[in-house]
């Protein structure tokens, strides 16, 4: 096991958004330059728009979380792209600092 490795500073942008808007948001992220993303389906939530929770009948109350690691230089652009893709939809956007292995992924 090698323990020497380089670490790179990135921004992790997390977006909790209604499931029906996820493909719009993902497209926006890709267009804004994100090289990848992860998506957690089936989130429940509460917020200004009340309780949200998938019910199997229609996707109108389903939430998902999108996680996108990007270079710090791209962070603002990506957050703006997500915000615009959500528009009047339901969602929140936030960012934090992370350190990654293997720079080439991001």
């Amino acid at each position: 096991m090698t323990e020497e490795f380089r670490i790179y500073k990135k921004k992790k942008i997390e977006i909790v958004v209604e499931a029906l808007f996820s493909s719009r948001v993902l497209t926006a992220l890709e267009e804004a330059g994100a090289k990848g993303h992860s998506l957690v389906p089936n989130l429940r939530g509460r917020g200004a728009h009340g309780l949200r929770r998938g019910a199997g009948l229609s996707a109108a109350f389903d939430n998902v979380m999108i996680i996108c690691l990007v270079d710090e230089s791209l962070a603002t652009k990506i957050m703006a792209a997500a915000r615009d893709a959500i528009g009047d939809g339901v969602g929140i956007i936030y960012a934090s600092d992370v350190e990654v292995l293997r720079d080439e992924h991001f």
Partner: protein, 333 residues
Amino acid sequence: MVDQVLSSVLGNFLSPAILAFILGALAGFLKSDLEIPEAIAKGLSIYLMFAIGLKGGASLAASQVGIEVLPVFVAAFALSFFIPFVAFYLLKLTTRLSRENMGGVAAHYGSVSIVTYVTATEFLKTSGIGFEAYMVAVVALMETPAIISGLMLAQGKGAGNAASGKEGKSKINKDLMREILFNGSIVLLLGGFAIGWVTGPDGLDKVSGLFVDPFQGVLCLFLLDMGLVASHRIRASRALSLPVVVFGLYMPVIGAGLGMISGFIVGLSAGGIALLAILSASASYIAVPAAMRLALPKADPGLYIPLSLGITFPFNIVIGIPLYTGLVLALVG
């Protein structure tokens, strides 16, 4: 007559499926931790759509159908498209909802509820009343026109952009049309219908151990879930004012009336008229909410879902179905 309707209301009421809805609603209101896993609920709805399509297609294959369906299809399309205008007008008259919310609600009432439809067909079969084999195609036809008119109403005359965000109109509209036309429930219903039609009664026979025999039981479980979801959404709703709730009770009756008149004009059988009435009376809670979120995000799903699922749906399956059928029989049969 009143006696007959009352007794069929009671008979309808005492079916396992409707009692399962009530059980689910009760469990929800009593804050029971009972819940149907989301994947199971989706699985049940996939099953129902596909099975309904399949059986409709197979029964169409077994019957002779010609050009006489055209006026029925036109009438169905028109009902779906124009009922939202009536609904919108009534909402404007009686509520203080925003334009977006009125358009969103109106779209739901132009479109249809498939579970209401299938409950009605069971009711007709139990009562020995026949109906046209192609009615499933009518269901599929009535799903989407209301979405278009609802969006038009929500935007008003001056507005020209159904889309959210700042992106161009045409792009979103193309995506949106695809999303509306190829949404899962329509694909399953029409796909099942086509498969049933092509493979005919023999094909259905092969798969009847899944799509015919257990059908009533699956409907029962699905209604259990609908009762749970309806009560959860009503409890969570902050948008259901009294005039809106009342709208959810008289609007189906108006829709049923329009459906009956149209069904009579295009020459459907008594059973067919009753089904067109119930389809017009019913409000969507599967396909339309998804379309509305995408096309009209300012309209509140906490308004239209509990209204359609928690007020109009139970009204229709408990009272509406025997009522409209009784009326049709009294007038036509």
